[in-house]
Amino acid sequence: MDNNRQGAKASYVALVFFTGLWLILPSAVRRFNREAFAEFQAPALHLVGKGRDLARYWELQSRSPEELVAAARDLARINAALELKIHSLDDARKENTRLREMLRYPQSTEFVTVVARVSVRETSSWWQRIIIRKGRSDGVRPGCPVVFGDRVIGRVSVVHLTTSEVDLVTSPGFRCTAFLEGDDQSRIVHVSGRAGLALSAPRAMVSIIPLDYNPPAGQIAKVMTTGLGGVFPSGLTLGTLEAGVQTTSEKHMQTGALTPAKELSFIQEVSVLIPKYPTAGEILLTPADAGKPEEFR
């Protein structure tokens, strides 16, 4: 046996020792290590995202002026319609605030919207996630809802300095309560991501559907957020309930598959909804009184 192989024994012993040490190290050390390697990759992810944006820019540059004029005209029409809608919504908001004050009803969670571009999509059997180009420095916090328009995309799972990882609706770690369209009693169902099959579109699962629930005739039933739990605002679309709802083996509930509201694998831009004030969960997890705003003390 040569010296090289004899030296390997010491290396194996060192590896076993290090593995043992790694297992008993405080989780903060492992988290720091993970964070350091994620930050190492962040500039490259930003570069990739910006490269895509540049490619899109040059693609748009190649469009004919007629096309751009037509697009601008359409946008102007949409803007005009939206301005009218904003006015009516503003009236409704004032009315809502007045009524809440009269009834001393707690204010619903208010959000600040941060628009973020998608850097990279990551899918596997065990996770479906995207990495966005906004992070801790932009105020993004773990648990923040991620939407596109009124459609739920997922939830921020890990936040780095300038990037964040978002668990998609179909990712196994995703959990949310929802209402089903067409259910007059507004009973709560449970939406959860599930480990996906490769080479097929990822889906989530809708469980605890009441036995007497019937989807609206001739329509695909929408699945919408309840607003309970304070993470997602109410009324956002999680997706649609697929046909073929099945009764559970205990025969007391039904389960079905959920098709996400947005084609998650092609999405390029999302909005992160950051609660203006810490959510109940964040307050519970914050040690002592640190970080709580005045009104929560």
Partner: protein, 176 residues
């Protein structure tokens, strides 16, 4: 240039390849498969780097893959370190190209299996380890990891060898 930092410069030279495979995974995101090359990326460096350098390089390659994915901390990195120790003490097993191909396929497949099982352990309630679903997914990922290792080993090794030549890392025959 100090040879002590050879592993770091080599990591910087390898990183674009790892990122490129991540982008490839991105482009096939609808299919739900994760492409993987980190195992094959340690083969060429293990022929020429000193053992401690190869260990550091392999650990970093593993941690880079783990850092952006929900994989238990250290599972892949420690496996790659183990492979690096073995390969640097059995350099004759990666002496020529056919042997390097075998090593790349084996290490990449083993590393792919490790992260797949480690990540799957978190979902045992919904997908038992010994189910057809699990086995099918694992075989598909393993197949893709094997194919990628075969396809990308030569260009990857060329770039890594070029970087090691520039840094002044001794040739395989001279490496300790």
């Amino acid at each position: 240039m100090s040879l002590s930092w050879a592993w770091l410069f080599l990591l910087l030279a390898t990183f674009p390849w790892l990122l490129g495979v991540d982008l490839l995974s991105d482009s096939v995101a609808t299919s739900g498969v994760c492409l993987f090359i980190s195992g094959a990326a340690i083969i060429a460096p293990c022929r020429r780097l000193r053992r401690w350098q190869a260990v550091l390089f392999s650990g970093c390659v593993g941690f880079l893959f783990e850092s952006l994915r929900p994989i238990p901390d250290g599972s892949l990195a420690l496996l790659l370190v183990l492979a690096a120790i073995y390969l640097t003490s059995h350099r004759d097993e990666i002496r020529d190209m056919p042997k390097m191909f075998w090593a790349a396929v084996l290490v990449n497949g083993l590393a792919c299996t490790t992260w797949f099982i480690a990540a799957g352990l978190a979902h045992l309630k919904e997908v038992p380890l010994l189910s057809m679903h699990f086995l099918g997914q694992w075989l598909l990922h393993l197949l893709l990891a094997t194919i990628l290792a075969v396809l990308l080993l030569v260009p990857l090794a060329l770039v890594q060898n070029f970087a090691m030549d520039k840094i002044g890392v001794p040739q395989p025959d001279e490496a300790a």
